[in-house]
């Protein structure tokens, strides 16, 4: 494989072809924050907290470092006023879901985010999808998935699968950046109230 030479925050970086900007930055100790990224999982590019400024042969723009492959002579900047502003507002939006999350609070400190800026949301989940993807890609159990789309998107355990697989696994729990509550809640729901249960209709 041929070597790719790029610049990150003014430093010359040598990377392998196929590496992402995030991989390349981490290889030389440059920190880019992430939430939905996980070493064992396919790059996903959903939380956008890893957004960086990219100049690829004169084409400038913002991109997610975790999914964008490195290119020859690419110039990457990991912090600018615009990037910091975006990260701040993203963290504020996440904190509307999970105001006590330690991961989020530490990001809030870094970017000056106000945890009470936006209306509190009913779900703890920030939809990073770590649980869904880990269950699918690593555990290969598919016990949890996304449900619905847009502003009503949520994660849901599939009761039939969860009842069989989750009890002895729970590998997704520690991955959750907000708290275990959401995953635990959905698991409890799925296991305690399978679709055939008479309690299911009453609990709402």
């Amino acid at each position: 494989m041929s070597k790719i030479h790029l610049q990150i925050d003014g430093r010359e970086v040598e990377a392998e072809e196929g590496m992402t900007i995030l991989d390349a930055a981490r290889s030389v100790g440059i920190h880019i924050p992430t939430l939905c990224h996980h070493e064992e999982l396919e790059p996903y590019g959903a939380c956008r907290i890893c957004i960086v400024e990219i100049d690829a042969g004169g084409r400038k723009g913002l991109g997610a470092a975790c999914v964008r492959p490195v290119d020859q002579n690419m110039v990457v900047t990991t912090r600018t006023e615009q990037i910091d502003n975006i990260r701040k507002i993203l963290v504020e939006q996440f904190l509307a879901h999970a105001p006590e999350s330690e991961v989020l609070l530490s990001l809030a400190k870094e970017y000056g985010a106000d945890k009470d800026r936006f209306e509190k949301q009913s779900s703890f989940c920030i939809l990073c999808g770590l649980c869904v993807r880990y269950c699918n890609e690593v555990e290969k159990k598919n016990a949890i998935g996304f449900y619905d789309r847009g502003s009503t998107r949520e994660i849901k355990f599939i009761p039939e699968v969860a009842a069989r697989e989750c009890k002895d696994c729970k590998a997704c729990f520690p991955l959750c950046p907000t708290s275990y509550l959401q995953a635990a809640y959905h698991l409890t729901e799925a296991m305690g109230f399978p679709p055939s249960s008479p309690c299911r209709d009453q609990k709402v």
């Binding site: 590019g45 964008r68 975006i86 209306e119 847009g150």
Partner: protein, 641 residues
């Protein structure tokens, strides 16, 4: 139908079709596109057939042709009688008798069915003289009224598949790509990427397996250009696709069409069958050695699946969610193979390039936007329908000259272009040239061609809220700036329209818009804030009056308005009190009516039904409702009218 093995055989077949047709034989073309069908075109066709039988005529004397949409949907069902090109509008089944006896037998025009020019009350008999059509340039939809979309013979009779012959026999794939590049055609799906350059990417790939795709996932509210093309002339779309497949080196194609377009699905599926039977899809097309097959795939109606990476995911059977680009579909597309995706209108342009040369497109339009563009002109405009115009025409010409302006004597307020993620353009910019760059400069986008006209009764907060609501349900929800950003922008817009807006809300909206626009994964999020940004840009004072004065100047936001009956003007006619669905109007004969504000739902019925000669019901916004007139003073002496 014969299987055609060579260009000569195709020409033979075409000649045979044309020779069997008498150009002077009357042909009644009835639009049976979705719009006209909804207005009863099916019954009109049945009545015409019945009448032909009744009057002792047969198919040797007159033909009936069920065609696609010519665009003047406002006046459907549309009937055009050829060869004279007599155009009848808003035709009902009862008119069939007269059409047959007067026009077909008697060779006379049924005057009450023709278009009357509102500017001078003149009757216009011929289709092409009607101002709505006269000022268009109908390269793509012009054939719709001439052909039955269920008959490949009709398409061949108007020169169909000549372009395919030219491409396959006279040009190398590289030359075809070059022709498309030379035409300077830009993709009609929204982003406006040059089609030839896009083709070049996939064509340049060394991979053996490649795909071409028709993106017919038209999802903008109010837009139906692609539906009309697929329903009305599926053969032209297929011809463009086969040419593209040849140029790119793809042997397989997909047509991704939304399930909500049943007639388009039906017509294109039948068209594929006919083209296959003829041998223009299949193995060794026209003896050229080129093989191609195509599959129709019905999408489940997710707006985001119009985004090409989401469309690919959906085609592969995965959830319709976009993926980061690069890698672009031209490198790694469907099932990981190089793929070229263009929308319906783009593919429809391709045969024109091959048949008439690239300058046929490149000679029309502005510096960077060439050819014609179809817009679906809807909203508060007199002539609702599809209009095909040269790039560079002014918005004013589209809305006023072709569209006939705003009906009901109302004032024009704004036009929203580019679908839910487009922008609202005010009066001051009506003279800009319509092209990709000029629309972007004023904060809107070309999009796929939606154009919604709004009059003075439109509240821009309400408009922005509507589009955000649409997008909050249609965002896939994968990436957070789009999902969360839209959710929060919508909640702020809701509170503004409810009279709970706060100082700083406009700035907060702008900040949210910035992150959604810049940080989202795909173009849906990237353009989602446009309705908010463009309305703030041009109608900021409307935001301010909602926030500061709790006033909706257009009297639309229900929480900010009230209805009040002026006791001086009320004649106690009881009309409003009888019509009020909330039973909120206290009143009796000779008793001045009073609205119980507690019960009133602000539906506006009283305002609409109060006879204009009284004009007693007034709308209030941003000011307190005067106290009701005391009960003992309510009796009026005299007649209540």
């Amino acid at each position: 139908m014969p299987r055609i093995n060579s260009p000569a055989e195709l020409e033979e077949f075409r000649k045979d079709i044309i020779s069997k047709r008498d150009p002077d034989k009357p042909c009644i073309a009835v639009c049976t596109g979705t719009g006209c069908l909804a207005l009863g075109a099916g019954k009109v066709v049945a009545a015409l057939k019945e009448e032909i039988k009744k009057q002792g005529l047969d198919t040797k004397v007159v033909d009936i042709r069920e065609t696609g949409c010519p665009g003047f949907c406002e006046r459907g069902p549309i009937v055009v009688i050829n060869p004279e090109e007599i155009c009848y509008l808003q035709v009902q089944p009862d008119d069939a008798q007269e059409i047959i006896s007067q026009t077909i037998v008697g060779k006379k025009v049924v005057e009450r069915l023709v278009y009357i020019d509102p500017s001078n009350n003149e009757k216009i008999v011929h289709e092409s003289d009607i101002p709505f059509y006269k000022n268009q340039m109908r390269h793509l939809i012009g054939n719709n009224i001439k052909i039955d979309p269920k008959s490949i013979e009709d398409y061949l009779a108007v020169g169909g598949y000549l372009a395919l012959v030219k491409a396959l026999i006279e040009q190398t794939p590289e030359q075809v790509v070059q022709l498309v590049k030379d035409s300077k055609l830009r993709g009609r799906g929204g982003a406006g990427f040059p089609a030839g350059i896009k083709w070049g990417f996939a064509a340049g790939s060394k991979e053996k397996k490649k795909y071409v795709i028709v993106n017919a996932d038209e999802g903008d509210p109010g837009a139906f250009m692609d539906r009309a093309l697929l329903e009305g002339n599926p053969f032209a779309v297929l011809e463009g696709l086969i040419i593209g497949a040849y140029a790119i080196g793809a042997n397989e194609g997909y047509l991704y069409v939304r399930q909500e377009y049943p007639l388009a699905v039906e017509n294109v599926t039948l068209a594929i069958k006919q083209v296959e039977e003829l041998g223009l899809i299949g193995e060794n097309i026209l003896g050229s050695g080129f093989d191609f097959k195509i599959t129709v795939h019905q999408g489940a109606g997710a707006f985001v699946c119009g985004e090409e990476t989401a469309l690919l995911a959906s085609l592969e059977g995965k959830p319709g969610e976009p993926k980061a680009r690069p890698p672009f579909p031209a490198v790694k597309g469907l099932f990981g193979k190089p793929t070229n995706i263009n929308n319906v209108e783009t593919w429809s342009n391709i045969p024109l390039i091959l048949k008439n040369g690239p300058e046929y497109i490149s000679s029309i339009g502005t510096e960077n936007s060439k050819g014609t563009k179809i817009f679906s002109l809807v909203g508060k405009v007199t002539n609702t329908g599809l209009v095909e115009v040269p790039m560079g025409i002014s918005l004013r010409d589209i809305i006023f000259t072709i569209g006939g302006g705003v009906p009901g004597g109302k004032k024009f307020k704004a036009v929203q272009t580019g679908g839910p993620s487009g922008g609202c353009i005010p009066e001051e910019h009506l003279d800009i040239k319509v092209d990709f760059d000029e629309l972007a400069k004023v904060g809107a986008i070309m999009g796929s061609g939606g154009m919604i006209v709004m009059d003075e009764d439109t509240c821009m907060i309400d408009v922005a809220k509507y589009f955000l609501e649409f997008l909050s349900g249609e965002s896939c929800g994968k990436c957070s700036p789009c999902r969360e950003g839209i959710t929060h922008m919508l909640s702020i817009m809701n509170r503004i329209s409810e009279g709970k807006g706060r100082e700083g809300d406009i700035e907060l909206l702008e900040e949210l818009a910035m992150s959604t626009k810049n940080a989202s994964l795909c173009a849906l999020g990237g353009s989602a804030p446009n309705p908010v940004l463009s309305t703030i840009r041009y109608f900021r004072e409307e935001y301010e009056s909602h926030i500061r004065e709790k006033r909706c100047p257009a009297f639309v936001c229900k929480d900010l308005i009230a209805y009040y009956i002026d006791p001086e003007k009320c004649k106690a006619c009881m009309i409003c009190s009888r019509k009020c669905p909330a039973e909120a109007i206290i009143g009796a004969k000779e008793q001045i009516h009073v609205i119980d504000q507690e019960k009133c739902t602000n539906c506006g019925t009283c305002y609409e039904v109060c006879p204009p000669r009284f004009g007693a019901v007034t709308r209030l916004s941003g000011e307190p409702v005067p106290p009701p007139i005391p009960e003992k003073e309510r009796t009026i002496v005299g007649k209540s009218d």
